[in-house]
């Protein structure tokens, strides 16, 4: 939280406030016939120390803002600091004026009025700080709230768009339309594939963990449809060792990676394209890499990871609190995206464990 003194206007206000206090005290002392020297010394010592005390209270609120009992807090801290100020002020005057000065006696007889004035000034200052910091905190909270709301709205919108994938959908329908006259059998097959793919997108819950095998099947549907659209241009190679098949991963995390590869590798290049997907089991974790060629003239994958990949990185971070799970490399115009999926312990069924123990 920023400090109360970082505000330029408040700095000016405080300076003016304490100057005014000084002027008042000096005038009062003059009115009861105190000489200039003593009146000035007394005023300076009192107000400078009082300002220090009040600064201490305000500054303290930057680190600790009382919530419950905050009015009692004001009262107690004002009395305590007021009393300390009272002692310090007396000590200071005593040190400056040396023994035997009659003014010491005057200070002594005005103890009650001094303490009272100090207490009032300190408590009004701390009340002011309390309100200022309270308001500051409220502002920050409101900002955070709008920011989170904004983020969640964006995420929702993005999710909706990605579920719908209008470009992919309409182009696929167009391909089906073309096939109905030239190859009706293939057209029908593609309708099934497209339906299964869309159903998969709608059905899947992103919170759920599914076996790699299931995600790959879903991916195959997607790739088959793209193959119909682009004919022989698209080739795919999927290498998965048998042991990896039963490893689990969060639903719908792999398809966007492949979609991104298709976007750069296929939509933005001419000629034949090979999209390669490889998985490995490394240290008990699932390691998946997707490779696509790209055109260095038109695509600049080095800069940032692109929106598709950024959202995956974000998801991985939310799931595992790690930012190193998605990596991209570029070598000889081949773009490789690697994601590591830590194998979390499967959720333990408490009833089952209970039985085992028995």
């Amino acid at each position: 939280m920023k400090s109360i003194l970082s505000d330029k206007r408040l700095q000016v206000f405080f300076a003016t406030w304490w100057m005014l206090c000084m002027a008042i005290q000096f005038l009062i002392l003059k009115q009861i016939n105190i000489d200039d020297k003593h009146a000035l010394l007394d005023t300076l010592a009192s107000i400078i120390l009082l300002a220090t005390g009040s600064f201490f209270i305000s500054n303290n609120m930057k680190y600790y803002l009382p919530r419950k009992e905050k009015y009692w807090y004001i009262l107690i801290i004002s009395i305590t600091v007021g009393f300390l100020w009272f002692l310090a002020q007396r000590a200071a005057m005593w040190m400056i004026l040396k023994d035997g000065d009659a003014y010491i006696n005057f200070i002594h007889t005005t103890s009650a009025i001094r303490f009272g004035a100090g207490f009032l000034l300190l408590s009004s200052m701390s009340m002011f700080s309390l309100m200022w910091y309270g308001q500051q905190e409220y502002k920050e909270m409101a900002n955070r709230k709008t920011e989170t709301e904004q983020l969640s709205k964006e995420a929702e919108l993005f999710k909706l768009r990605r579920q719908f994938q209008p470009h992919f959908l309409f182009n696929s329908l167009n391909s089906i339309s073309a096939l109905t006259s030239s190859d009706p059998e293939k057209a029908r097959h593609m309708i099934y594939q497209l339906s299964d793919f869309l159903r998969g997108t709608l059905k899947k819950d992103e919170q759920q963990w599914i076996p790699l095998e299931e995600e790959i099947q879903y991916l195959q549907l997607y790739l088959e449809i793209e193959k119909v659209r682009f004919g022989h241009r698209l080739q795919t190679e999927i290498i998965i060792p048998g042991e990896a098949m039963q490893f689990k991963l969060p639903a719908l995390i792999l398809q966007p990676v492949v979609e991104n590869a298709i976007k750069f590798g296929l939509y933005d290049t001419t000629g034949d394209v090979l999209i390669k997907l490889q998985t490995k089991v490394e240290n008990g974790n699932l390691n998946i890499s997707v490779q696509n060629p790209f055109d260095p003239e038109t695509a600049h994958p080095a800069k940032g990871t692109g929106f598709g990949l950024r959202s995956i990185q974000r998801r991985l971070f939310l799931l595992f609190a790690r930012n190193d799970l998605l990596k991209t490399t570029i070598e000889n115009n081949i773009f490789t995206t690697t994601i590591v999926v830590p194998q979390m312990l499967q959720p333990v069924d408490p009833v089952a464990t209970e039985k085992e123990r028995k």
């Binding site: 309409f170 167009n174 038109t298 600049h300």
Partner: protein
């Protein structure tokens, strides 16, 4: 009537081809897989009408049109692109949203035949250029080659008669567009028109010096110096927040 189809999906081309077969007047002279092939074919065959997809490899449909001197009449074919659709609605002969029926296709052909000379391809390009997806690069012709310049590599643009000179890391290129076209389309990349004849990449500014009365001089990290007019200076201050 000579016709060319430009689309990167073979099946999408085959639909148009099918539909064209039943037309007596249309003669399909070429089919192209991407914008580069499209440019060559258009120069070679001088078609009357082209069917053009937007999303294609290397350069998209709009960028292809930008590079052709006198573009033929265009019927756009596309699946989905909100911004493109807005551009078509305003100025294109017609546009076909995939998948489209034969009836719809024939209507488009009829529309072309009725208003043969009223295509506003230029305007379609200008409207489409405001689309966020279009703006992160500029496509220029460099002799017979086509060059794609990422926006961040552009230092500044300078007016040169009917052309605009684009100064980049790899030298300068001319493009037949107006300054106000670039001023508008490069706005989001923090390019500012600091002078009637200059648009500058504000990311590259290292120093602003007072020059003569009411004018300033910019120094870029690349060493180039750009004059700034009085109104240009106001705009610049706004963008840089000073």
């Amino acid at each position: 009537m000579k016709v060319i189809i430009i689309d990167d999906e073979p099946l999408a081309r085959s639909i148009v081809k099918d539909y064209l077969l039943t037309s007596n007047e249309a003669e399909l002279v070429a089919e192209c897989n991407d914008g580069f092939e499209g440019i060559k074919a258009i120069q070679q065959y001088q078609p009357d009408l082209i069917f053009l997809d937007i999303q294609m490899p290397k350069i998209n449909g709009f960028e292809m049109l930008e590079l052709i001197e006198n573009p033929p009449a265009v019927i756009f074919t596309t699946a989905f692109d909100e911004f493109a659709i807005k551009a078509f609605e305003l100025n294109a002969v017609d546009y076909l949203l995939k998948p489209f029926s034969k009836d719809r296709f024939e209507k488009a052909i009829q529309k072309y035949q009725h208003q043969e000379n009223t295509s506003h391809v230029e305007k379609v390009i200008e409207t489409a250029a405001e689309s966020p997806a279009q703006q992160n690069r500029v496509v220029v012709k460099d002799g017979n080659k086509i060059k794609i310049i990422p926006i961040h590599q552009v230092h500044y643009l300078e007016a040169a008669d009917d052309y605009v000179k684009i100064v980049t890391n790899d030298g300068s290129f001319l493009k037949k567009r107006t300054m106000s076209f670039f001023e508008k389309s490069l706005e989001t990349f923090q390019f500012v028109r600091v002078h009637r004849s200059y648009i500058v990449n504000t990311q590259l500014i290292t120093r602003i010096d007072a020059y003569e009365k009411d004018s300033h001089l910019l120094l870029l990290t690349t060493g180039e110096k750009i004059p700034v007019s009085k109104s240009g200076y106001t705009k610049l201050k706004e963008v840089l927040g000073i």
